[in-house]
Amino acid sequence: MSPPLPDSVPAIRLKGVSFRWPGHPPAVEDVTLEVRQGESLAIIGPNGGGKSTLLRLILGELTPDSGSVEVLGMSPSEARRARRIGYLPQRSAADRTFPVTVRQTVEMAALVGEPPWRRPSAAIRTRVDLALARVNLEDLADRSVAELSGGQFQRTLLARALAVDPPILILDEPTSALDPGAQEQLGEVLARLQSLDGLTLVIVSHDIRAMAAPRSGSEAGRALCDRVACLRRTLHFHDAPEGITPQVLAHVFEHDLSQVFGDVRVLARPTHHRE
């Protein structure tokens, strides 16, 4: 593990980032964004609004046409290689018919780069156990992935992303394929990762309610995400003191969403600083 960085280094910093797929209008344009360490940010926006493109720029899978992306002071690909970013894709390519257990799945990531002749060290086994515990899957560790529910499988993949101990976790539509119960469980897990383990979370979602509504349960009253950014090619709203108003949402989604989200007090609370 590399030594901890000073808190002043932002987890993620984008400056004037634009990206255009050849032959298309710009997917994202002049996006400037800073995510502090330990903060949680939701990026919402309509389909085709550039959310996934923005994530891929942060992950280093795409290079911006102009502007710069930094992750913990490094280039995104450096950060990825240094295991500073855990990533949960929207649709995992993982094959659920594969004859592996939950624990094996998590171990796969923890064992990357280990020489073939060495048995998993105690440190690695502890890291795997911890990752399983963080997503509430200790009891299912020896179950084969084919027997899991969708939510359990999603949490298995989350544990795999956590197995390399990344300080930043990036999730692409983590709840979109889950039923409400599983969404709630995943939300609990994510909220705890942020508040207890101090992970920086960036969550792309079109589910404003799940990201920004005050939660019930252990973290009562707190929203999952500290801040919400709306993306439709440009970052339409960010850090405005008045929070996300129905007008902002209507602008982003091109619909009046106050009917849909009227009961949600969406919110950008002032960013809290960690001591």
Binding site: L59, R80, R81, R83, Y87, P89, S92, A93, A94, D95, T97, F98, P99, V100, T101, Q104, T105, M108, A109, L111, V112, G113, E114, P116, S144, A146, E147, R160, V164
Partner: protein, 286 residues
């Protein structure tokens, strides 16, 4: 029982064939679940048919001629192996770099290699004084021509393939399970794929002596397919696949020895029967 005579009688001629068959069964048993899970059955088919092109070239070079020495025979299998490895790597390259769908790339290579092999064999047959190579033998397997050399080759390939698979087992499992995520964490997917193609290619080379070009796929696909019907854990799937692999070869060879019919179809049908039983067992278990 002719089987016992062939294996242990005073004129026991089939010992090398049986020894080679055991090695091939173990090799296919280990590899097969991966081939099934990675949806590489048709890739195996493509590689095995590419072997026929190699057979044609080796025949024209006179390497399969009766009376040719061990060196020539080794050379012949070398040519076939080169064809198979080249086919395996080209399938990967065409589909990944040139954007041709994988099944199309296989279709093209398969047909090209079969046609080339067949024409070359006819050319060689047309030559005065040359001994003819049995086309049917290469297509459907020929135990009679499996000598000590082929048996040794099969065991060497098994040992090397096992060592290689053990060496790459962790990245291989991750890559097979979730390629994009494995690559994003630094696993070289291209290298793993290439290594797997080479292992698959040499497996095909030793398998085709027994089962022939056309039916080699049965040995590469069916043990794993049957194992995945009855087992759910990595270790039990591998053990079941090894067991199915050996069982299919034993049943097929015994049927072949008793009837004096070619081993390839007997082995293939034995595997299909085992797969059917595994499937039924899986259906009844629910």
């Amino acid at each position: 029982m002719q089987t016992l005579d062939y294996l242990f009688g005073p004129y026991a001629t089939m010992q090398p064939a049986a020894a080679a068959a055991l090695a091939v069964a173990l090799l296919c048993g280990i590899l097969s679940p991966l081939v099934v899970l990675r949806r590489m059955a048709f890739v195996g088919q493509g590689i095995s048919h590419a072997a026929f092109g190699g057979v044609g070239v080796a025949a024209v070079l006179g390497l399969f001629a009766a009376g040719a020495g061990t060196g020539a025979l080794l050379g012949a299998w070398g040519v076939v192996a080169v064809f198979c490895i080249a086919a395996g790597l080209s399938i990967g390259m065409l589909s990944r770099r040139q954007g041709i769908p994988e099944d199309t790339a296989i279709g093209v290579l398969l047909v090209a290699s079969m046609a080339l092999g067949f024409l070359l064999l006819q050319m060689q047959r047309g030559r005065a004084g040359s001994t003819s190579v049995s086309v049917e033998g290469f297509l459907f397997g020929q135990v009679a021509t499996i000598g000590p050399l082929e048996a040794w080759l099969a065991w060497v390939v098994l040992a090397v393939a096992l060592a290689a698979l053990w060496w790459i087992r962790r990245p291989l499992l991750f890559w097979a399970f979730d390629e994009p995520m494995a690559e994003s964490l630094g696993i070289q997917g291209g290298r793993i794929r290439a290594a797997l193609m080479v292992i698959l290619a040499v497996t095909v080379v030793v398998t085709m002596q027994l089962a022939g070009v056309i039916l080699a796929t049965a040995m590469i696909v069916l043990p794993g397919a049957a194992a995945l019907q009855v087992a759910r854990r990595t270790s039990t799937v591998l053990l079941a696949s090894l067991a199915f692999g050996v069982a299919g070869v034993v049943v097929g060879l015994v049927m072949s020895f008793e009837t004096d019919w070619q081993p390839g179809p007997n082995i293939a049908l034995a595997y299909v029967a085992l797969f059917g039983l595994a499937r039924i067992w899986n259906a009844l278990r629910r």
